[in-house]
Symmetry: C2
Subunit: 94 residues, 2 copies
């Protein structure tokens, strides 16, 4: 679903085709939905969070993009598939 | 920046605090901006694309979320940090 279609200023002297830029209103949300579906299925996950005895698989890059806490925690990680034990005050409620 | 604040139907019989749900209009875009900034800085990248002799570091999960081609290609990858040589018809133009 594309919401904007605008022709860019572009020289047509060399009989080139006009250039169009498409902007989607749903692109961002769709990618996050796909990433969440990957996470639910354990696809391409590279970190495991341990919280209230429950293991939750996730993507490091997404956690770091959403949270300064995870950004600092995960950028220092050298393990290939680290297991992160979250503080007890964190709930596993999803 | 929060755009919607709506009280959910919830029993108040036990003198519980009301529950609010906040929805952000910019959350999705912000996360993708952060992921792109990570990619530009090579942070938490786990795949390298080789295209027109140029190496581009990226996040496997994001590529797979955006593209069926990468989804099929990357889910079969066993390497820790694979190097993907893209077909010659693909341009490195960014």
């Amino acid at each position: 679903m594309w919401s904007v279609c605008s022709e860019q200023g572009m020289s047509m002297e060399k009989s080139e085709a006009p250039m169009y830029v498409y902007e989607s209103t749903v692109h961002c949300a769709n990618i996050l939905l796909c990433l969440n579906e990957q996470r639910r299925q354990g696809v391409l996950c590279d970190v495991t969070l341990l919280v209230e005895g429950k293991e939750i698989r996730a993507h490091r890059a997404v956690l770091a993009a959403c949270s300064q806490y995870f950004s600092l925690l995960l950028q220092g990680q050298k393990d290939q598939e680290p297991l992160i034990n979250l503080p007890q005050k964190v709930s596993a409620l999803t």
